[in-house]
Symmetry: D3
Subunit: 303 residues, 6 copies
């Protein structure tokens, strides 16, 4: 870390700016959704086939892990939630499993569910836990099935084992966080008969943030943030209220994969989370900069 060229007064300014944030957020939980795309784009290729088997080489994931560890080291309590769509698709392809559709919607049959669970819990989750733990024994991987964390039910029988969140029992998260650990959550839930379901990770991140009464809910994405005109990069919004975001969704300016994120942001902020953030995960140390400086690196949703 070659920081010697930064003049002392600048350093003092940055520290005087950052320390009050550290004070304010110390002991507070920050739920961070880390997307499968981020992981995938980092590699630019099919991960299972080409990665080095768990050895850590992904630069953006490594910087993200460093941020998580630095935040934890000053008493801020990160909880990581992740997806893994591209990685699931990749293994399905290798196993010759063809996607199935019913009424135009993708179906998750039992085999697809087993593949999704293996990839999310046995691969993506492991990769994130592993890279955090190169800094020390901090991360603990969890599936939503552990200790009743995510209670789920089928969204629609026709879609098979696609689940909705029924309830979050966050006690296991509270325990781990209280012990100084960083939970990393794969978003498989289960119903009372023990049947597993695959659940949208954005929704789970929001539900966990609410249940934990988190200080912040942060989505690390591969876009700059939310724009008031999706076509115009100059309309990037730095801060907006829930109502404004609702309007953007209704007007179609927020669309596609951003919709569940937007929905999770407004729901969380309306249910006890102080602020929600859509950050550009491609910016190095986006998480650190967003939390510890007065300057933001994406869009903040407030009440």
């Amino acid at each position: 870390m070659t920081v010697v060229e930064v003049p002392a007064p600048v350093k003092a300014d940055v520290l005087c700016d950052a320390l009050p944030y550290i004070r304010r957020f110390a002991g507070r939980i920050v739920v961070v959704k880390y997307g499968g795309n981020a992981l995938m784009s980092a590699n630019g290729a099919d991960h299972l086939a080409t990665s080095q088997g768990g050895a850590i080489t992904d630069v953006p994931l490594a910087l993200f892990a460093q941020d998580v560890v630095l935040l934890r080291s000053v008493g801020i309590l990160p909880v990581v939630v992740h997806g893994g769509g591209p990685q699931i698709g990749s293994l399905m392809g290798r196993l010759g499993k063809l996607p199935e559709f019913r009424d135009g919607l993708r179906v998750t049959d039992l085999e697809t569910l087993e593949i999704a669970r293996m990839v999310l819990v046995g691969k993506v989750n492991r990769d994130i836990v592993g890279i955090i733990n190169t800094h020390g024994p901090l991360a603990v991987g969890l599936s939503g099935e552990d200790a009743g964390l995510i209670k789920a039910r089928a969204r629609d029988p026709k879609l098979g084992y696609v689940g909705d969140v029924v309830a979050i029992d966050a006690s296991i998260l509270r325990r781990l966080v209280a012990e100084g650990l960083v939970p990393v959550v794969a978003t498989i839930g289960s119903d009372s008969s023990g049947q597993a379901y695959n659940i949208n990770a954005d929704t789970v991140a929001g539900a966990i943030a609410e249940e934990l009464e988190a200080e912040k809910l942060v989505f690390l994405t591969d876009v700059e943030g939310i724009r008031s005109d999706i076509a115009d990069p100059t309309t990037l919004l730095h801060e907006l209220g829930c109502g404004e975001l609702d309007a953007l969704v209704e007007s179609g300016m927020v669309s596609g994969g951003m919709i569940p994120k937007a929905s999770a942001c407004t729901h969380a902020v309306r249910h006890g989370v102080n602020s929600a953030h859509v950050l550009d995960g491609r910016v190095a140390h986006a998480l650190l900069l967003e939390l510890l400086t007065s300057e933001g690196v994406g869009t903040m949703v407030v009440r």
Copy 2:
């Protein structure tokens, strides 16, 4: 549960027999190794291809899970360790991955490691957690990579990512157990660079039992126990000392997959574990009977 036909004095006898064991073992940890064969034989077929995607149908696993929950309910503290060799082989086959040998020994290359990790952590571990949790939110799945649980190193560079246990950091297990939870451990370890390794589950079970100063180390197998003459079923041993077991190994009467179990038993008993057990997992409620009655269902190794 139709127990009405058992006469009251018999019930009273069984209870008077069992309660002192409950008293003695309450608050004590029992490490149970549940083997992949047990799981496989329960299904009699390739699990990934044919199972019902996480829904619980395996009878022996269900009885095992019931025992774990009953023991926990009276204050005995089970920690489950599992393997999954047959399940790994099955997925490798489906992916067209051919086993590789060097100098006659099987090699675990990076792709094999990733497959093993996905199957152990993302499938077998999940199945066990899931079936226990049909009784309540008790089980939490862990990989040895979580919170630094299993520190490993390569056994032999030629064998690739086959690891030996360097150290066990059991703090995460102690925390979960203290919270009333049942840890279920998949035996993937990692070195300080974050590289994962696949490790023999019998060895891990023994190392964890020692580190936790467990009351008992129990191997649930698909044999009756240990015989003094492997060819003669009438020579089943109910109890033997470490020295006697060493002699049986040296004489070749204990062989094959039983060797790492025997080795883990004697090492554990010599390092603080009160007794080690090789039980016949095919007997219904073998675990309950072994722990809570004066009659054993397998072989007990004592100092």
Copy 3:
């Protein structure tokens, strides 16, 4: 304990049946009234004159003590309350003290009170404490005068020192129970001037169960239980509600010494105790069977 002849599946059944009860009642208080008749009939003779001076020879008392110790060993918290009418009568006889009556009711003058107190606190209580403590230093004898346990007042001046319960201060019981001890209570109370009174033990047992918010109030008697037709042994009731029991008392089907027991049962169940039981103390291990099996050995009163 010769239980070897019971087949393993039967044992497993009994244990699978019992363990959920242990789980449910662990940490819960069970108040057991052990009657003086039970003690007396056990000996079949004047105890003071013929017993072996405190050495333990009474079989039914010994089995009762074993049940108390076994229950305590699995975390259930027994509190024993006892009477001792026959033993008091016996010493009075030896001292040449004639019973006195006023308006047809028996009078407890000062000398009778002193004799009752000596016998209850200095003999019966000691016998029960002693036999429990052959299993370990578990039992502590208490009189209702200790630490303000039973606050009493005269029932009727004409009857002398026969008392009614004014208030129970159960703090000493809670402390002893919390320390893992088994309180054994002799039912002498006192008023604020320090005057002692002799009090009906059934009533005290009920009042203590209520104050402790006990799980159960159990009367160990020398009858099978409560019958709907007192003359017909086939009408034994296994479970009945408070209202039904009230009706049986009013109709005269419950009478004599059973009346204070019935009254204590219904009052306790209506004031926070989950269930009350009238058991046949002559059945070996009646207490253990009633608490830990799905089959009962007497009458249970529920709300």
Copy 4:
């Protein structure tokens, strides 16, 4: 309490004198042996026959109880041990039980033991507990059989159930004292088979003081203290060392019932008790004066 006539400076002097003692002894245990003679002489008659059945009328006992309560109120921790020889003799007489001698020594047969236990635990202990508790729910009566307090064995088979102290398990005393209660101990012990024994109360008081590492061991007697010449009242000793007391016993100047007291004093002082005291229990508030003023009211034994 008419103290108005004492001038303020005198009061200030007494308080300035007393407060440092309160500070020094706060949180420290003082074991006080209260003798059966004191109780008897207070009444001047057979207590069982003539007392008012537990109502409190004994003046010296009442003053003693007041001292105990006052000391406890300022944080000093009294533990009371008592005997009751005269009271036992009285009941034996009424029951027509003749003392039995073997080789010139009094024998305690089973009936005598039962009588002794009834009187000590059921009468004398109750009287002391009762009078203390007129000040509030402070005292708890204990027999040495409770919670394994006094482990005993036969002194000599010929003497029957006369016991020696084998071990003191003071945990029940520590618990009660820690809860702010005042234990009152009757000196019946038991062996591991549950057999009770009658034990010399002076010896028990000393053994308990040692086990509790008491600040003081105090004998309240009916003499002024220890004299260097038993025949000469002017030779009363205010303070003496263990060696000096040993010499007085050897020379015969200390004799009779004072011998077990002297022996308990020197043993206790040599095993961790700071000082032992033989006080004149006939002086009103002897205990208070000895503990809280610089002037003593008897003999103090120091190392």
Copy 5:
């Protein structure tokens, strides 16, 4: 301490009288205002010029300190508040600072405030702390500026830095008292900008007593107490209600420096303090006598 001439029964009487007060007040806070006049009259001269530089020679202060330490030693929790008007005047004189008046009222300009703060915090507070600490490391000096203890505001801009109490944050006092220490408070307060103010010590003592829900508020003065007729020494009042004291103030019978004391007494007693006392600090051990005897040495104000 020559108390040997006091007869034992008198001592016993004084102790029996005092111990219940110790019990009642143990763990309770007593706020004592010690006046600058008391300190000054003790010396009879300008202290700064003539004292021995912190060495302790003041007899009344020494007796007061002894009382504080004795009370603390038996578990009563003193908090000392002090003024120091005469000492401030003395240093102002030496610095040639002339008192300034505006509209007939004395003005506290910045220099006067600095002098007052130096004298109160750096001299009077130190003298009291020092003399208490000759008995052990008990006292801790505090200014109202410490840890936000006294939040103040200007009474009247024309009077400069004379302050009124806005709020008391007694957490620092509670912490020190809980640690067994004796806080000694100089009555300088500050506003949120950090500006200091000099505040009337009687008012501060009352406000602190209220905030701490003290048992007693005690003013040690140089008068005997409050009289119903200020001119007639025989009309000294031993106890009076708030309303009576209000009437005496209105009628002019209470006047001058006694007015803020009277006002603090009635306000405190009406806001949770059990009683307030105006004592004659010239009586040796006035504090001890008032708290621990049934005879008072001044005037007690009750509700």
Copy 6:
């Protein structure tokens, strides 16, 4: 705070650099000596005469206070020790007190001691406490006389009340620090008779750092640091060992007021303090920069 112009990657660099220091020092004590010269030079004039009476206007003191508060806010535990020589001289001058010398050394007579105590405890200490507390109720002023903090003795009778440190009882500091408060210590000590002494503040700072096993001992001075050639500014040393510093003192390159600092540094580092620092207090935020960046702003002494 105008930090917007600093580019994000620079900020991220500074934070990534600082956070590990925060983690390392969190929960660790840093003892900071703040000199009277710093305070004086900040004002450039006689403070008592010209200051605004406690209102905060000193810029360097304000920046120092901000650093203290920021460090505390992220869990680092500052303890401030201060001197005040120039301020003492100023008041002595105003009071017409002439310095007295004996054998060429300055003498502290009783009046000088009283003046020193008033100024240190009643003025300088108050100014520092006041300015810190504009950020919240954090600082608590202490004199070494409080709760036995600094036990002192006369250095030399001829010098009067100049003291040496005999012992530090840091319990009051540990208590305050544990409560989240910042102790500010004036360096007056006392002997067991209560006599006060004025003590060199550098020495006290070192002794307190040792007793608290501080992470760091920091001297904020008005020089750049320690030079290997006192005459050559280019020889400023950034880090040196104790032996090197000893050599510089012996060679005369370290001299004057730097000698007690150098001596305190080497003694502290040799007795459990990790490092000692001589910083240039004239650099804004010197404390923050030294603790939280890899670049130092003065001289660090290590073992």
